[in-house]
Symmetry: C2
Subunit: 424 residues, 2 copies
Amino acid sequence: MSVAAEETLETYCARVSQNAKTASRQLCGLPGSTKNRWLLQCGQRLEELVDEVLEANKLDLENASSYSLSNAEIDRLRLTQERVFQIAAGLREIAALPDPVGELIEGSVRPNGLRLSKVRVPLGVIFFIYESRPNVTADAAGIAVKSGNAIILRGGKEAAHSSQAIVSIMQSVGSEVGVPANAVQLVNTTDRDAVGYFLNHDQWIDLAIPRGGEGLIRRVVAEAKMPVLKHYDGNCHIYVDVHADLEKSLNVVENAKCQRMGVCNALESLLVHRSVASEFLPKLAVRLKSYAIEFRSDEESHHLLQSGVLAQESDWSQEYLGPIMSVRVVGNLDEAIDHINKYGSRHTDGIMTEDLSTSHRFATLVDSAAVVVNASTRFNDGGQLGLGAEIGISTDKFHARGPCGLRELTTYKYIVHGDGHVRT
Amino acid sequence: MSVAAEETLETYCARVSQNAKTASRQLCGLPGSTKNRWLLQCGQRLEELVDEVLEANKLDLENASSYSLSNAEIDRLRLTQERVFQIAAGLREIAALPDPVGELIEGSVRPNGLRLSKVRVPLGVIFFIYESRPNVTADAAGIAVKSGNAIILRGGKEAAHSSQAIVSIMQSVGSEVGVPANAVQLVNTTDRDAVGYFLNHDQWIDLAIPRGGEGLIRRVVAEAKMPVLKHYDGNCHIYVDVHADLEKSLNVVENAKCQRMGVCNALESLLVHRSVASEFLPKLAVRLKSYAIEFRSDEESHHLLQSGVLAQESDWSQEYLGPIMSVRVVGNLDEAIDHINKYGSRHTDGIMTEDLSTSHRFATLVDSAAVVVNASTRFNDGGQLGLGAEIGISTDKFHARGPCGLRELTTYKYIVHGDGHVRT
């Protein structure tokens, strides 16, 4: 949807918001089969029209230099036939997931005969602010509509043509199968004030989801009047306990740190029980040698690792997203728990131990979205945890924690049935 | 906890916050039996020490005139032996509720053998801002601790002595049974800046709950960096459908409007289908005559009611909390739904109908915390819906909707068990 010539930015944003609200009301009552037909048909149409999508993407790639994108950013922006087919496959996967809307969460009959149902319902209108990956456009729209929500997409200008091509397809399929076209709208203005407008109007927007760097997220949190589903950093820990199997621990630590370093569930900080440190840490230094990890350690670990530098206090809180890891020796389980609760980011934290009560105490007292026992921190994502598609990972505790899929984009209502019941 | 002589307000607030955070960590691992023993013992001790509590309350009552409280406010402030015993009984009721902490929400085994549990856990630290009712002090503390949270209470200065007496008892029982004394702290300063400090420190406070007038709530929402559980107005509707049983409808409308007019789930706005309006509205005027309700109606209803005034546009959005009701004739179900979604406050809205598909469409499309079919709107509260004690009613859609009891003060975490699992 474009700003018409005679329109102010405010009128434009108000029109987009009201369209979304109207669409969200229609989506509430839409049967799951219609939403699934839309998802499947969008997938098919994307494949049929792959050349159009690639043509649009070409325009974005031609402009990429004028936005001074890095090579990695250009790579994320680039679509190929294979990538478009992956997007289509993603929509089919969303279609295959159970419909969260209408799910009966709880039900009971009260002593006076009133029948209660607590039923899952859509949130309403989602405002989604993201950066330059065109595949996110289709993903986010698919997840929103499947969960019964209208979505206003505000993508990066770098991917404007690609996103527009994808959204146009989704809207035109919508008209064919009975999903309101305004269920998915792309904001066609690069004016930063547009973002401010939407964030300020909680009568129309029920949830804001920023996906991008910390600067973007902080801006959205500061300005938004509606709730924000947000992801700050993932300063993930593993604690190798006195009861750990050290072979397993070497494998898990290697995987958690090195399988993919630039992601939020990668290991950033290692804690080792004093009794096993002198055996474990030298072995770990050997095991990780080929990855050229820089250890930032307390004195005790530094002595055992024989590599890296001494940690600063600030290292304990840091998410490196690269070949650096902080390391510390602790005297007991509670010291490890306290360290994680003090310096961690409540994202994903693990323990290696074969002792049952130790693992239970760790899982109970570590205040993180995911606590992992004897497995890699890398398992904390929507796909691995069985949620299917995810629209983000929440580092908050309120409403949704960890990976956010279809259910996390819903709320509930009470439906109360009586037969002329009055309160006395 | 008082401000020590040498302490600044900021140091004081930081100390209270950190104490609460530490207590909340201890509460996480506390068995339900300890929390219940605390609740029962607090109830007993309140009864034993009722004279002390009444003595403290007397001081508050003596000061009441200097705060220029209204008679109704003084009545809410006043404790009697009976009221203290009611407070004690309330704590026993909380003890009898199931412990929400540790509840297994979902569990599964992934294809790779990873075992997942999604487990209910406390939110952490709650900052509760409320006005002058001393019974709320005990209620809020009881609900918070039972759900595993530490609470910082910031009550009105009018009830300072009464609240302090109650909190002192709860803290001293805590030391006896093993609930950390700082699980319940009363902020002993009337400095408004103290509120600002807590609202600004989301690293310590996980949730703010304002309970009071709209001004208080708006201030808290504007300043809080953490989520806010809030209750704005309850502009509740009943729609009398063409398929309504008009006798039931007269009873339900009378009850919803007149049983207690000053509460948030009381009826404020009545919609009547055109086909039954000419029969129903004159009967209603007779039925409600003794309550001296002022009708504010559209022309059609006004003509049928033969009483009251014509409604202004602003009447449709208004929560009167008294003997006024807006009335409008609508042409069909969807007009009623649209009216409610446009002017309502998403609190509690009802329909009177004997038609199944009509009731289903209304319940699906009306976007309210509670949708009531053939029963009074007055049933939307924690006790009536079976939640037990409630700490407030949420008019938001995010996290919790409608009455908020123990579960609504919790979040969840994923606990993932492997046996050396790594991601490939």
